[in-house]
């Protein structure tokens, strides 16, 4: 029996990881993060697919299409976190659990980054642990799937 599938979505500019402002975002590349997350997911009994787009609409498309194929989603909406009602609506329109992650601590940066529009639609948010934010996010969604009643919403 195939493993159930998780989806990891990276928003705009996350494909530049390792090259972009490493003092803020760390030196790990997106590919390295994907690989670590896939390994952890596999240990937890899931297959993890990873995608990145700079297009808000593409992220909405993927979220909408995810419901039939995936059982849970980890998303770093990047800059779109702070303004995208379209992403918020897409997250609310699907019924599988979505976890939001951020590399940097959004509460310790510019004021316009401390507010997350999309976070109002997700189950929970993990922010500030660099690449580990993603790993904690995979673990969180796996735990949600294992015991859906354990979390308050």
């Amino acid at each position: 029996m195939p493993k159930p599938k998780l989806l990891l979505l990276h928003g705009p500019n996350l494909n530049m990881l390792g090259m972009r402002e490493p003092s803020i975002y760390g030196s790990a590349t997106m590919a390295q993060i994907d690989q670590c997350c896939q390994q952890l997911a596999s240990e937890l009994g899931y297959n993890l697919s990873c995608r990145q787009s700079n297009h808000e609409g593409q992220l909405v498309d993927w979220l909408q299409a995810a419901a039939g194929e995936f059982v849970g989603i980890v998303i770093n909406p990047g800059a779109y976190s702070h303004s995208s009602i379209a992403l918020l609506d897409a997250i609310r329109a699907i019924t599988i659990p979505v976890v939001e992650v951020h590399l940097s601590n959004i509460h310790a940066r510019e004021a316009f980054r401390s507010h997350s529009v999309t976070a109002a639609g997700v189950v929970g948010l993990i922010s500030g642990f660099g690449a580990d934010s993603y790993l904690l996010g995979v673990r969180a969604v796996a735990q949600l799937l294992a015991d859906p009643l354990s979390s308050s919403s």
Copy 2:
């Protein structure tokens, strides 16, 4: 050789867990959460001490005194998250890593709960996974101690 020690701090009203608005905060009691966290900490090679106070000043006292005895801190500042500059200053005054956790998703509740003053001082924040937020927090602080360079701040 004794295990290094972690400190888990609960802020105001968290001693009421299980009794207080269970639709928001879940049915687990603080004692149950403490026990789960201690077990996980132990598996990860740490001893975990747990304390709760409704007094902002007491939490500041504990944070200040923690540096000599503990190697990392997980804190749920509860209602004080949203206004306490004193806690923020105390977190910044010590040099061991501090992780902030919340049971509920603070970005999906009343507007005054979506802003965390204390979060500007911690390494990272985990919010919305119920009792699992604490477990993810313990794991996050352990990972920070294992590999202090892996996180951006």
Copy 3:
């Protein structure tokens, strides 16, 4: 002689209608709404083309290209209503009448939905009548084309 053509544009997440939060958006699907609108348009002497996209840029592309082919537009910009200056500029850049519609009453929901950026560029706005908002929109644009002087701008 072929009938003059109208364009119906659906913004992000409207392809999820019937599946997404039916207590807010009703149980009609986008295909059903399109069919009803096409039938009404036909009765009023127009052919109606229907398109949907989750991409802000695609909606801008379609608006720009519409001028040569269509004589009027009904648009539900969805979440982009509340922030898209690009859509506002595109609406202002074309000279055929544009009518904005919303399924739900945007003035009775979250504060961030009560303001429509795009509405500053359209002839008029219809909001809150569920699928009927679209039908009223088709009727409104037909009336504008029949008697262009009858409306104040």
Copy 4:
């Protein structure tokens, strides 16, 4: 069997239509609008009564008294739209459907006109089509009465 009755309420200064700032409000008089609406209502199977007042309290009185006599209401609250909590409360206090209409596009004028307090209580809002806003409003309320479940509220 007599036709069921609809009520059309005009708020302050709408009795000046045709005389007042015609570049904004058009050249139709209130009497002409009333006549057109009554004709349309009659075609749709309703008797339509029309009233105007410059007094906020009078509009509240009429709304309260409407429930026993009328089956639906179209209201243009005029300037009171932007501030009257009393009208909002009156609309919420009655259970027959109320539709709000505006001659001009309130989202394309001064900032203080883009917010409608009363709109938070009505089923839906139609704005910007000049005298046609009223006709679309009559049609909308008739449709609501024909098929009360078709609209989300």
Copy 5:
């Protein structure tokens, strides 16, 4: 010797009590409240007159005229509490004590209801006890008249 007279003023929509949103405003009618208040006033040595109006100007008229006839006033300004400087000025223009009451707890509802413009002019405010708010208001004004120095202003 006739009993001194108190005036009870109800603002807009309070004549709908018992019919209007009973989950917020309770099931007692205005007439029942008036009767209870009159009985209590009588026990305390006063005659109580009761009036209601949906017209802001009427409430101002009554307040202005009250000074010669009444020795104290209990007022529920309803929706006008939140915006009426005219009522505030009228309350300040008379010298007999005025007490403001609200059925619901205005601090626990929509943000626009948590601020009372008129409250800046009254001696004190009682809010949230349903019909009992009125009874407490009658008692408060009686106490003020019995011992005018006992209250801070």
Copy 6:
């Protein structure tokens, strides 16, 4: 040949002049002010009619009806200055000149009195000279009628 007519409108609570907070509003009564203004108007070649109402709607009614009978208006909108869009619209709907006056200096009192909504519609504003504000207002409107081009709008 009869003298052309001017209208003097007093808004809410101005009938209380002389009784109400004399340290702010002076000791002159409304009747005394009316008499002084009528005498000055007469010297300047006009008949002056004076009216007062606490009802916003009544003031709107009088403004609307003034155009046929009067050649100019002096208005002290009182508390309604600070919020009434209905009065602003009525002032804009008529074409005879309207001058706004205030007894006290509205820029030197509570913040909510420093903004005048109605002032955006009048030719000019005179504020702070007590009863003399009215006399200056009569003089200003007479000058506007004598030489309509002399004022910028």
Copy 7:
């Protein structure tokens, strides 16, 4: 059978009553207020315990512990009313009725005092009657206990 018990909590600086700014807070001391309240409570069939603290955390402790021992609470949170989410959460965490009282009329003082954070959690609020605010509060809580359905919340 012993009388059921009520708890009266005084927040910061209320132990200074009679000494502190008597023009605002009156000349009664806290001990005098406690005595009057105990007498009234006794007449109404209750024992009343009175406590004061300048410590936010102490007030939270007492609220949490009250549920087992007391049947209702009257609280004057003093300065903490205006900012304490911790007190708000404690009030919401217990199920016995809580009534908030203030000596002065908080709506007639500095802007920062007109908002009460804690008031969003209590049944109702009484403000502005000096020492009588407390007596009305005792009466209100007694009435709530006598007839729990009589108040809307």
Copy 8:
């Protein structure tokens, strides 16, 4: 016996009158306005001195020095009205009456012009009557000197 002296102060850019945006400020030059004002002042029994400066500090200097030489001041602070606390302080530091005038109706222009900082210090304000604002200002200050008790401040 020499006539008592009045001072007329023009702020920045008023020396450009007649040349600057005549649709807003009219076609009269500053010299013409000065001449008209001097003639009116003379009729009323005063000598009027006129000065203009683009320098905020110069206007402050003149205000400070005026007290010994002049008995009243008419000032159009121009652009400095909207921000100059230094002018406000200078006006408050002297005890002779100061009247503020504006050519255009400051409440009907850009938002930043509707607030006058300096107006909080003057006796009264006259705005919107073009050159006549100055004449009304001279008359107002003369009336204040004739009957200092007639105005509320």
Copy 9:
């Protein structure tokens, strides 16, 4: 040896130049602007590539990919200037100089256009010179490349 390459990016609706609101944006078409810029770039020793997109994500893609191929960028982000954190992050993620240009003076238009989010990431901004803004932008980026130390950032 081939000339180094510059990139010119046009944001949404700039492909409509010459057709769209010419009173604001001028009558030059985008193709004409591109041609002028290419000629100037050539004179300055550069090849200039020109691209336009209505898609925020496409602009981000192009910015990310530019670093390897181009030595400098001139961008008119159009409507996305005012809200796009994704574009800001993309500009910051690359190390070649980026200059922002606008046809119209963004500080002299609607309030929402006076703020540029993207401008916080570029070297400098040129706004208000119509098609010349682009030419000045090309010149500015060429100068930056010629003498990278001459500009403050």
Copy 10:
């Protein structure tokens, strides 16, 4: 005859001085500051007692109790300066002079530190001179006691 006594109060985290962010707060410890202040106080003829607490309530307790024992107070309220109405009320409730000091220049740091709530109650504020702020504060309070009329309040 014993020297009159002064009280020096340190708020939260000031016990960490020398260890906490020395680039902001300097390298002097609290004990060193206390010793310098005691020596200066002694030279000026006073005994100085020094206390520190992280508890807002404790600081309130000490302020209330100070009046009988001390003749003046120097306080650094630390983080509580920016939000504590309870401390403000306590300062206002006592009649001996209170001087507020800060190590760093609060106007040159984060926005939330530039406002001091408590400063509205003290005689004066000294900020930005590091440990010298305390010494200047001792000197200021001594001067106030020597010549109570020399300061405006």
Copy 11:
């Protein structure tokens, strides 16, 4: 025939260039910038006069007097950009083109520097290129004079 003349105005503190915060403003002195600009102006067929003042009023004086002598102006209003309505009015009062320049990128600094009041009156703005901002400004004004229709305003 003499060359037409341009005016270059430097606002406050620009005479400190080269000495003041060189990391922000660069190391070029004002004299060096003037010389470069004069040379470029000469190449473009103009004589350039350069002036500096720390006095807002002096800059207004110079702007007013410029119209008769100069054909175009480049101005760096420095700190006065962010608040001076007097400068804005002076720029609007003259009819020759004015271009605003800034050394640093005002959108990338403190929030209060990102808004330019004066920019609402100029043709266009150039910001962020250090001394080159001035050279681009000279070029821009020359181009405006060569082809006055080429720019939208």
Copy 12:
């Protein structure tokens, strides 16, 4: 060897001290303050020069020129404290220490006086001690010069 020199700058309206609102600013004249400060400076080993101007530009001129002649500055910027970015920039442009003083406690007056723009550039601020604020300022700057490392900035 001559004593090193200090500069004392008084901003607008401070030359009116003793005459202007003595209840706020005290009865000492500026000359008396200067004399006291010169005596104290002399005792501390400095010569003190004193200047006053109502002109913002003059104060900027003096600050710029001070660096070569003086070793430290005490400034009371008066009303310009609350808005002058030009003064802030001038203070930052020089490298000798600047101390800001105010006679009254700016945090206890009108809201617009509680913010000091200039204070963001000075070493420290002393406010509320009347004429003693100046003396404490002289002492503070002398201490800074004696021990430049003792203060955090």
